[in-house]
Amino acid sequence: MQDLLRRYGPGLTLIMALMVAFWLLMLVIIPNMTLFEQSFRPYLPVTEVGGPRDTYSFNNYLKVFDGSIERSFLGFTFTIPVHVLTFWLTIWYSMVVTVMCFLLAYPLAYYMAKIVNPRSLPTLILLLFIPLWVSEVLRAFAWWIILAFRGPLNWLLLNLGLIEDPIRWTNMGYTGVVIGLVYTYVLFMLFPIYNAIQSLDTNQIEAAEDLGAPWWKIHWRIVLPHSKPGIASGSVMVFMLSAGSLLVPSILGSTTSQWFTQTINQWFNDALDWNTASAYAFLLLLLCTLFVSLAMWVFRVKLSDIAK
């Protein structure tokens, strides 16, 4: 703030501050507060809004417990409300996406930070970024084509002799969604980890090797602990973005894959019940945040580590 004042003078600084305040207030805080308030009110015909039935309650939130179905898992059979099940599957597959992103990103980040010739690094980063210039919709559709029943992936696997019959990728539960989400969000994992590893003094890796450590021990004891903040912020981003993604599950989802955002979307667009939709949206936000906090506590990551 002091900096801004010195550089641009009071007039311009005031305008900038007002613009930021406007953006925050009008485009973030007020709409969200409105939805938050709506989420506690029943969905009523217009004539009854503000009438005696328009009272605050948790009813919208409690709707997730409606409509149980029977499921069996690991030999146990139990009944579970459909929306709760969708929620857990969303969380679970978002975790799978996060882990897969980490498994892909960590070796690549290490390669970029410590192995590749620094002169070819800009080219490499450019190659990684180019796909980002294409819109997310197109990329999702591209995967839809790749994964199609008579698409290139099946063609390749068939010709390599790895499979005997083509696979219905987009009709295998969450497979398509997971692949699409990993592809869409892997860079959000890559760059934080890359930054973290890059800040590691190469001498530490060499010192560990000089003391006799095999490569996996060097990663386990030196590189991984050092890059933990990067891994944590990458994981939080990928997890939150995956859980909150609507586009990828809509395009690459199968008949048996329901994402929680799709449920929210149905409340908004099919049922036109914005009150319940808001309640579901805040539920997702709240529970994801809780889940992330829990994961951070388990892995002993501090919030200040991530903010770095």
Partner: protein, 359 residues
């Protein structure tokens, strides 16, 4: 246990640039050997070749008589102390020290005990559970030494380990390092650009310039009988005269310079041009001309250094000379601006070629 190191015709190229050129040296087991040279002369490259991070482009490196080509750093009986120490900031001190034992599968209780012993050895009791960031520069230095000693290396490689410390601590650590080396009997290869450090600590010194080893000898020999002008200038001050060799007899030569013709020992010129080098502490000042090797000068500056007095003078032909007088009460102090004579003993002066570098 300690091992000797042999470098045989070792070269190291980075692209077209030759960082180390034909290094030959045989370091004895248990020896404290220093490589001394200015920054960029290839010292670190030699050390990294011995520890296994770089393979020599040509030549053979033997550790304990065994050719180590193709062996990774974790397979060599060496321990490297990095210029910036490279301690592990996320581990407590004791885990830092015993990291090498941890990777060898030593159990925790033994490691903990060993850490305490090593901390004792480097005079750092009670620091086991501290973190690296809580230690001072000198303490970190000791931790780095302890960490290297923990793996019981046969050879310790130290890359300018004292350069980050302040002067007082540096002098203290010199003695300490030397003591640790003698206590453990491990071969030390020590790298420094500080001539005082190399001369004070080492059994032998290898002086390097531009990738070439110029001279390998014990510190006295290096200082008293440098083989060329680079060594003479790098390990001390000199009065230097340009000129030409005239007659030669019994290893002594007469040398014609603009300041007069002097007699001095003749080094191994091998047909090349040479210059005459004489140290300021071997340069005398007198009111009257000496029998030989005498230059008439005007005293330009006198600086009192405590234990010695440094006198600077300009010869009639404009050459700047200096002499150091011991402050033992016997010297007669010249006056600034006074006329005097500077002279030197022929046995203390040498005619030497310039550095041994690629043309």
């Amino acid at each position: 246990m300690s091992a000797g190191i042999d470098l045989e015709n070792v070269c190291c190229d980075f692209g077209t640039f030759r960082a180390v050129d034909n290094a030959n040296v045989s370091i004895k087991p248990g020896e404290f050997f220093s490589f001394l040279g200015p920054s960029g002369c290839g010292k670190t490259t030699i050390l990294r070749m011995v520890s296994g991070f770089i393979e020599p482009t040509e030549g053979v490196i033997r550790i304990g008589g065994e050719d180590v080509r193709g062996k990774r750093p974790n397979q060599r009986p060496t321990a490297l102390i990095f210029q910036n120490l490279a301690l592990f900031p996320l581990m407590p001190i004791w885990e830092n020290i015993t990291f090498g034992l941890e990777v060898r599968g030593v159990d925790k209780a033994t490691r903990r005990r060993r850490a305490e012993e090593l901390l004792q050895l480097v005079d750092l009791h009670g620091a086991a559970d501290k973190m690296v960031s809580q230690l001072s520069g000198g303490q970190k230095q000791r931790v780095a030494i302890a960490r290297a000693l923990a793996v019981e290396p046969q050879v310790m490689l130290l890359d300018e380990p004292l350069s980050a410390l302040d002067l007082k601590l540096r002098q203290h650590m010199r003695a300490e390092l030397r003591a640790i080396q003698q206590r453990t009997g491990v071969t030390f290869i020590y790298i420094t650009h500080d001539q005082g450090e190399a001369l004070a600590m080492s059994d032998r010194v290898g002086v390097m310039s531009q990738g070439r080893i110029q001279q390998i000898a014990d510190p006295r020999e290096i200082y008293n009988n440098p083989v060329n002008g680079f060594v003479a200038s790098f390990v001390g001050e000199n009065n230097i005269f340009k000129g030409e060799v005239q007659q030669v007899a019994d290893g002594m030569a007469s040398f014609a310079t603009p300041q007069g013709t002097f007699r001095a020992r003749l080094g191994d010129l091998a047909g090349r041009d040479g210059k005459l080098y004489v140290r300021p502490e071997h340069t005398l000042i007198s009111a009257t001309a000496a029998a030989e090797n005498s230059v008439p000068v005007t005293i330009s500056d006198i600086s009192f250094e405590g234990n010695f007095i440094s006198v600077h003078a300009v010869s009639d032909s404009g050459a700047v000379l200096s002499a150091e007088l011991r402050n033992d009460g016997s010297a007669t102090m010249p006056e600034k601006g006074a006329k005097a004579y500077m002279s030197f003993d022929p046995a203390r002066a040498a005619i030497l070629p310039d550095a041994n570098v690629r043309s």
